[in-house]
């Protein structure tokens, strides 16, 4: 569908993207506000960032959150990638519909239900709640996102290369690591990043499944937001937004370069043949 852009299209794009970005831009601007009143501009200042460094509670929460996000993203990537392989490659097996149902349902399931049900599971298992329970909860819902991302990569994948390797006597595990994994790697990396940010963001599921001593950053931000808007929270949010933005842009540049390289290689290969 390519036709020239009309005024209507340009206007709707500009208006739409302003709507998406203006609130975040304002939040970032007001994190540099000298005044404590967040809606009155009192001059440029970075003092709120400096005061963050002395806020031990916030730093502790950030450290817990990063650890939870890292461990759960790694675990979710492994489980989610296997789940995607099963969905695309394993054909028919008993309970396939249930399996794909369990992959897709958490994507739309309200978080309050996921959080409550996981908490009740942990209570029934009589485990003490804290870092590990939050990590397991995040792994579970993030694995489903990873599975969907990797699956879309696997679907558009030329299976004949794998089959060739296996015909030549390559064992399945080796085929996976030498052929399948390198091809789906961009999907796997994107899945890991998604799992990481989902865990970094989550308030509801963490609130249900956490225990004493494992307060995550979103929980901390939430309890402060309930008391009112402060420039410190703006500063924390700005840092988080900045990190995520850099991460996503870097990842997209890397995959783009890989694609360009791949196209160049392919062209060179076909050129040599002809």
């Amino acid at each position: 569908m390519t036709r020239g852009p009309t005024w209507f299209n340009i206007t709707s794009l500009v208006a739409g993207f302003s709507f998406l970005y203006l609130p975040i831009v304002l939040l970032v601007i007001y994190s540099f506000n000298e005044s404590r009143l967040v809606t009155v501009w009192g001059g440029f200042s970075t003092k709120w960032y400096a005061s963050l460094l002395h806020n031990d509670q916030l730093l502790d929460a950030a450290w817990v959150t990063l650890r939870v996000a890292f461990v759960s993203a790694c675990l979710a990537t492994v489980i989610g990638t296997i789940a995607a392989l099963v969905l695309v490659r394993s054909g028919r097996f008993v309970g396939r519909s249930l399996f794909s149902g369990m992959i897709f349902a958490p994507l739309v399931m309200p978080e309050v239900i996921l959080g409550l049900s996981l908490l009740l599971l942990f209570v029934a298992m009589d485990t003490s709640r804290g870092f590990w329970t939050v990590m397991l909860a995040h792994t579970t819902f993030a694995a489903c996102y990873v599975a969907v991302v990797v699956q879309s990569r696997l679907v558009g994948f030329d299976k004949s290369i794998e089959e060739a390797a296996e015909d030549l006597g390559c064992p399945p595990v080796k085929t996976f690591f030498l052929i399948t994994l390198p091809i789906i790697l961009p999907g796997v990396i994107a899945g890991w990043m998604l799992a990481f940010t989902l865990s970094l963001d989550d308030l509801v599921i963490a609130s249900f499944t956490t225990g004493p001593g494992a307060t995550t950053l979103p929980m901390k931000i939430y309890s402060q937001v309930r008391l009112g808007v402060t420039p410190e929270i703006n500063a924390v949010c700005t840092i988080l937004v900045g990190l995520v933005t850099i991460g996503v842009i870097a990842a997209s540049l890397v995959t783009k370069r890989q694609q360009v390289q791949k196209e160049r290689d392919e062209r060179a290969a076909f050129g040599a043949e002809g």
Partner: protein, 309 residues
């Protein structure tokens, strides 16, 4: 399920079974089993103990323990849900708020997705990236950003006052309007992405043919573009509607005390009243309300992914 689309049955080795077993067992333990526990506890009674419900099932008591705990089940919590107005009003108002927000998201999202699909090929990856980026930024932060804008002394009111459009600040924060804005803003990417995907696939020559045959552009839009983008519209609307029904953060931070949404009710039942059996019953009913749209959504997803493959 359509037989042709299931991948051919490969020869399954022990490793193949293990591969299936790992994610399958994980999801059974951490996704399905918890729901059964929620269902079980919704049939229990609240008690002042740890955990705060009775009967609890004790493995050590064996068969007799199981019989005892089943005979202790009651439907009191569900009866309670029908007796107190709060609950059915919360369900109803959640569904209404989610439906209105979904409609608003569609009205705002469609022109964006359409504009993206009509933009020059070279520009599209950047635009796509711009839609995805807010989706990666924290939900909580994006909701928080609106508080500073919508407050009585917030930026929107300051702007409108200084332009002389209003003489008194508008009360937007802590009303349902703020909840609509919050949901539309937070879920917009979920609707734009699938919609863009289906709009982009539309063959431009169809529209050209319609034009050559004298069909006015608006009619071509209604007769060709809209029907062909329908799968994207449906997928996007489900992705907004289903989670919005159970939304907690947005009504809690942007809504007022009279904004009833079931996610908020469940949260306060659990964290403030510490009534685990009633909050479980609330969750079971919410799940029953959402089961139909979730199954429809999954069927549609399956159809779409099989078409791709």
């Amino acid at each position: 399920m359509d037989e042709e689309h299931v991948p051919a049955q490969p020869k399954r080795t022990l490793g193949g079974w293990l591969l299936i077993a790992v994610p399958y067992l994980w999801l059974l333990v951490f996704f399905l089993a918890p729901f059964l526990i929620v269902f079980k506890i919704s049939l229990s009674q609240v008690a002042i103990s740890i955990p705060p419900y009775t009967p609890t099932f004790d493995l050590a008591e064996g068969w007799q323990g199981l019989v005892d705990s089943i005979s202790g089940f009651t439907f009191d919590n569900y009866i309670w849900l029908t007796e107190d107005d709060l609950y059915w009003k919360s369900y109803l108002s959640s569904v209404i708020i989610a439906a209105i927000s979904t409609l608003l998201t569609l009205v705002i999202g469609y022109p964006i997705a359409y504009g993206m699909a009509r933009s020059p090929q070279s520009l599209r990856p950047t635009l796509l990236m711009l839609v995805i980026l807010p989706f990666w930024t924290s939900f909580l932060i994006r909701v928080y950003a609106w508080i500073g804008i919508l407050k009585n002394e917030g930026l929107l009111n300051q702007l409108l006052l200084s332009l002389g459009l209003i003489s008194e600040p508008l009360t937007i924060l802590n009303t349902n309007i703020a909840v609509f804005i919050g949901i539309v803003y937070s879920y917009l990417p979920f609707l734009v992405l699938p919609l863009y995907a289906s709009l982009e696939r539309i063959d431009g020559s169809l529209l050209e043919a319609a034009e050559d045959l004298g069909c006015p552009p608006w009619k071509a839009f209604w007769k060709i573009t809209v029907p062909l983008s329908l799968p994207g519209v449906i997928a996007g609307c489900f992705l907004v509607f289903i989670p919005a029904v159970g939304e907690f953060v947005i009504p809690d931070l942007l809504g007022g005390s009279n904004t009833l949404m079931i996610g908020k009710t469940l949260w306060s039942e659990f964290f403030n009243n510490r009534d685990w059996p009633v909050s479980s019953a609330v969750a079971v009913i919410l799940l029953m309300i959402l089961v139909v749209p979730i199954v429809l959504f999954q069927n549609q997803q399956q159809k779409m992914s099989e078409k791709d493959g």
